[in-house]
Amino acid sequence: MINGFKEIYKNPNSSTSRKIKQKFGFSLIGFATLITVIPIIAIVLYIFIKGISAISWDFLTTFPTDGVKAGGIYPAIVGTIYLTIFTAIFSVPLGIGAAIYLSEYAPDNRWTRAIRIAIINLAGIPSVVYGLFGLGMFVIFFKLGTSILAGSITLSIMTLPVIISTAEEALRAVPQSFRVISISVGATRWQTIRRIVLPQSLPGIMTGVILGLERAVGETAPILFTAAVFFLPRLPSSPLDPTMALPYHLYVISTQVPGMPVEIQYGTALVLILFVLSLNLIASIIRSRARAHRQW
């Protein structure tokens, strides 16, 4: 190694020097990659190890007791599921519709560029600002109160950019030649979309939807003032009811509850991670199966 440094000092541009620099450089960025990847794997494993002891059938299906210091997290799980379903109901049609517009209809002009800038902006707005917006518009102005409805609509606007951009990419990936053929046998633009473009891009669109919902599942700030409550003795009975939710629950029990048993905290974190990871897995499976079965 010392000889290596000597060589670089003497002839910085000799081919040996360059090879040594390359080796050094590669190790450096390899190291950077390790820093990127290893801590997260470690964190997930750590949470798994520390939290698995808390997971039991009871934990997943019963209500919290003793404040929230014991018992299960059932209502939080159900609440998250409700929120996800309603978010999907609002964001999926709107997102796919917008993607279809951008990919199949939109002319190349100033207005279309404005739409794209708006989408980028929606993607960049801090999640807590979404919470404020949801509070101001849905909870207060539309008088929905703290409710699943207010929370999901807020979440769905936040999820829109992800769905729109992945869906648009999936639509554009369908070869233009299919559209030309369809038109040449007398199809209208919508018939072409409905019968060929949409079915062929469905896997890609679904991947985008699932990835978008995955983010919605884990977000706390947007539901802080719009849907989430700390504790409910009963499950919500209508979309106008507030609800418990996993990410909010984790936040509260790790910061606001003195004497909170650590296993339950880890257990909650584990359930949340498993939720998110399984959505990710589903998306990956859809993506690879679609690639294998593609007829173009």
Partner: protein, 298 residues
């Protein structure tokens, strides 16, 4: 039959067009509602108060500067941490690693990006902060440093994914040309591929920074929430408060339509404008670069 078909198609086309424009509608709506609840603060609180260095709402001190400074310091810290590591990792994954490694690493990084910030904040409280406290002999580990590290960790996956895509789309011929002239792969990466992907890399950085600025939960949980102006050199190691954390932490306790309530919304307006600015800057560079590339390549 033809007539109803025509009407159906017309209705559908109209629905699709509205969906397309919905993004613009929402941006306008968000801005409107933020202003609606936030502008009254300008009337209720003097400008000198807003620009003061004390944030103590209970006694009517609404100085925004410590919050803004808190956000800045944590974001800069995160950027210093995330940008070099993120870019290096992106280069490694796209240029250096063998095919099999890439097929593992790329999805892995995507999964990383999906970890909820509240989980990272949770780990931050239980592990990172005590560790920092021990390591650096601090009164509490909850500090700007902890926030920077976590934010950096959140921003890295974004930077890596986007930059990796940008590097990947540099045409093969660029690399082949450089190698044919006798450059090592290392030299090729830094002198040819990386500069060629400049705009994509810049976008990656901006998106990552955007994510860091907008982050709420993780920051709130580990930065200690002391709204002091971090002007001293060791402020990095002391508790600090960001704009996002302030809103999240205090919104639950304010009375509706109180001055405090309005000021929190005002902070929201500020955050909205900042992210708008970054995004417009990011998109203009993206569009400009694309136009330039199109001119060069045509």
């Amino acid at each position: 039959m033809q007539m109803t078909k025509k009407w159906n198609e017309f209705f559908l086309n109209w629905l699709i067009k509205i969906s397309g424009y919905s993004a613009i509608i929402f941006v306008i709506l968000i801005f409107y509602f933020l202003l609606r609840e936030g502008l009254p603060a300008i009337g209720e609180v003097s400008i000198s108060n807003l620009f003061s260095v004390r944030w103590y709402p209970i006694e009517d001190y609404f100085g925004l500067l410590p919050l803004i400074a808190g956000s800045i310091i944590v974001t800069i810290g995160a950027a210093l941490f995330a940008i070099p590591i993120g870019l290096c990792a992106a280069i490694f994954i796209s240029e250096v690693s063998p095919r099999w490694a890439r097929d593992i690493l790329k999805p892995l990084v995507e999964v990383l990006g999906g970890i909820p910030s509240v989980v990272l904040g949770f780990i931050g409280i239980l592990i990172l902060a005590p560790y920092l406290r021990q390591l650096l002999d601090l009164p509490t580990g909850l500090s700007a440093l902890a926030g920077s590290i976590l934010l950096g960790g959140l921003a890295i996956p974004t930077i890596v994914s986007v930059a990796e895509d940008a590097l990947d789309s540099v045409p093969r011929s660029y690399r082949d040309g450089a190698l044919a002239l006798g450059a090592t792969e290392w030299q090729t990466i830094w002198r040819v591929t990386f500069p060629a992907a400049r705009s994509g890399v810049l976008t990656a950085i901006m998106l990552g920074i955007g994510r860091a600025i907008g982050e709420t939960m993780a920051v709130m949980m580990v930065t200690g929430n002391a709204a002091v102006l971090p002007i001293k050199l060791n402020s990095l190691f002391l508790p600090v408060r960001t704009m996002t954390a302030t809103i999240a932490a205090e919104m639950g306790e304010v009375a509706k339509d109180s001055t405090h309530y309005h000021v929190l919304f005002l902070i929201g307006v500020l955050l909205f404008v900042i992210s708008l600015g970054i995004n417009i800057a990011a998109s203009t560079t993206m569009f400009q670069q694309r136009k330039r590339a199109e001119r060069i390549l045509s």
